[in-house]
């Protein structure tokens, strides 16, 4: 009975962490869908993506709070509790970035010339890949710490790719002298917003690397 209770307790918190990471991963895919719908001018699909990503953010926040409360209430993993909480906050911040991006599309309605569509799509794909590698690293951090490095190095790779596309895109934007400066700056702002997701994912990966070293036996 004791063993069963123990197992139930472990499964409970592990499942919540898993679900939270599912939400982060899901937010990336929804963001991709949302931007795609925006670029295609499909308002209905965009609105649906916005609603879904808002729901994901809401659930993510709820799960993060529950996990943090559980960790403190049951005094679980005392030596890594601070690190795990920080990691949860960081991953939640990435989720918020995806949501924020779609919200900015909704509020600011940027005019994106068709020649930049592919670059924007590519840029977001790399940012989503960087976050996805982070999600896999996080899962490994909780379940099999030895496997973290298998995913962690990919975050840097996707961030570099994202930097390349971002630079190329910004150059292309400012090369269009026919556009108003304010328009060019608005597009640059969006390119940087997407690129920042990959940058932040890399920062989270760096911190995760330290947490792994701290937990090494």
């Amino acid at each position: 009975m004791g063993e069963g209770l123990l197992r139930k307790k472990i499964i409970g918190i592990e499942k919540q962490v898993d679900e939270f990471l599912d939400r982060v991963s899901e937010a990336g895919l929804l963001c991709k869908n949302g931007m795609d719908a925006y670029l295609k001018g499909n308002a209905e699909a965009f609105a649906m993506s916005l609603a879904s990503i808002r729901e994901s953010e809401h659930q993510g926040d709820k799960l993060r709070r529950t996990i943090e409360q559980e960790l403190y209430r049951k005094t679980l993993i005392p030596e890594s509790r601070g690190d795990v909480m920080e990691l949860m906050e960081d991953m939640d911040a990435l989720l918020d970035r995806f949501t924020g991006l779609i919200w900015q599309f909704e509020i600011e309605k940027p005019e994106i010339c068709s020649e930049f569509h592919d670059d924007f799509r590519e840029l977001l794909r790399y940012s989503v890949e960087a976050v996805e590698s982070n999600v896999l690293s996080c899962r490994a951090f909780f379940t099999d710490i030895q496997a973290v490095s298998n995913h962690l190095h990919k975050v840097s790779f996707w961030e570099k790719e994202s930097d390349k596309v971002s630079t190329r895109l910004q150059k292309a934007i400012f090369a269009r002298e026919d556009l108003r400066l304010s328009h060019r700056m608005h597009l640059r702002f969006f390119a940087k917003q997407v690129d920042r997701i990959a940058d932040e994912a890399e920062d989270v990966a760096d911190r995760l690397n330290i947490y792994v070293i701290k937990r090494m036996l």
């Binding site: 307790k9 472990i10 918190i13 005094t75 005392p78 030596e79 909780f142 036996l217």
Partner: protein, 489 residues
Amino acid sequence: MFAIFLSSGLFLGWSLGANNAADVFGTAVGTRMISFRKAAIYCGIFVILGAVISGAGASRTIGELGAVNAIAGAFVVALAAAVTVYWLTVLGYPASATQAIVGAIIGWDLFAGAMIDYWALEKIVLSWVLSPILAAIFSALLYKLIAYMITHARISMFTLDALTRAGLILAGIAGSYALGANNIANVVGIFVPVSPLADITLLGLFRLSAAQQLFFIGAAAIAVGTFTYGRRVMLTVGEGITEMSPVAALVAVLANALVLFLFASQGLERFLLGFGLPSFPLAPVSSSQTIVGSVIGIALLRGGRGIRWRMLGEITGAWILTPLVAVVISFIALFFLQNVFQQKTFLPVEYRLTAEAENYLKDGGIPTDRLTEMRGKTYPTAAEFEKAVTRYVTLSNREMSLVLSTTEVGPLLMDPRFAYRINDPAITEAQRGAVQRLMGKRFVHRWQLEKALAEESPEWRMETGKKERDREIKRKLDYLFRLIRASMQ
């Protein structure tokens, strides 16, 4: 009067609980794996269970204080040990209660001019040096092994957390049980023969012997000590020496248990000897010292950078000071009790080289030919007798211990009144019968009574090769002598 004398035993129990609970739960509390409150509850419950269940039977564990032959003396010795342990607890250092007690007994020995057990002293000094080093080696090896297993078993973070926590609780519970069972005799053991308590039956189901009731009171004092003052030393052990991970905390308590087991296991000794292998010497190892050694072992394995050397130096200094301080406090307190309060703190013990003792020593391989001038002379104290012996012959500490215990003059009168006080269930009917048959007789030396009992019943007979059985008989004999002494006072 009994209550006043018992109070020092209870104070010793309280100090012991405040200090030694850290040996079993210190690393768990220090790493925040178990809250102090929870640890204190577990510790309290299992200390009491250990004391009442496994500490029961006064003859089974006589405790170090058994050597003190007057109740007022025992009061002072317990008080001196308690004050010493309390002082170290206030400073936050883990201390060995046994060493404090031995120190206090030496103070009594010096005051009473009684025999000092140099053989026991040698063991203590050896255990100071040996036990922390061995514990450090064990914990480092065990840590390597467990780290390898965890890494290769791919255990998830929360599973590892739950398993470590369960391990720490189980190890803590087992340690607390052993703490109660092993130390209760030191806390109240000496008061058992003079206790006015009678056996009671609870709800017609459980029978609590007088000894068990006394053990319960003593264990409750240990539990209260843990609750009220245990946190400080726990934090010293768990985080004061070095920062530890929960796995390291578990390894430290496991290594501690392993070292204590190796040095105390008669079963293991028998097993090794049975295969013609060398066995570990059965020596009194202090769990306070082994737990600190275990913590250091793991820290050294990880490069030793996190060790707070200053704290470690202070702890080591406190270990050396423990028996010395106890000696001084005990001696001064005895002086006051004897001269100011007019209490009898010791019964003078004389020494005489009788013809019987000489033959006995000759059989034991001691060269008595050179002691002819001492024949028949009575020496008022062990110190004077020892001085006289060393004038004629040089003996090792072990040989001197044998000479002193053989020539010690009882006298032991087998008064029928004391027979009624034998209430230990461990003493068999045959053993009781042998005691009865010797009623009315008088013996000069203790060993003569031992011999007479062995002749009366094979159950009192020691046999070579049966160490465990012999130890049990020796404990029962100690109990018997204390009863006889109490009946003669």
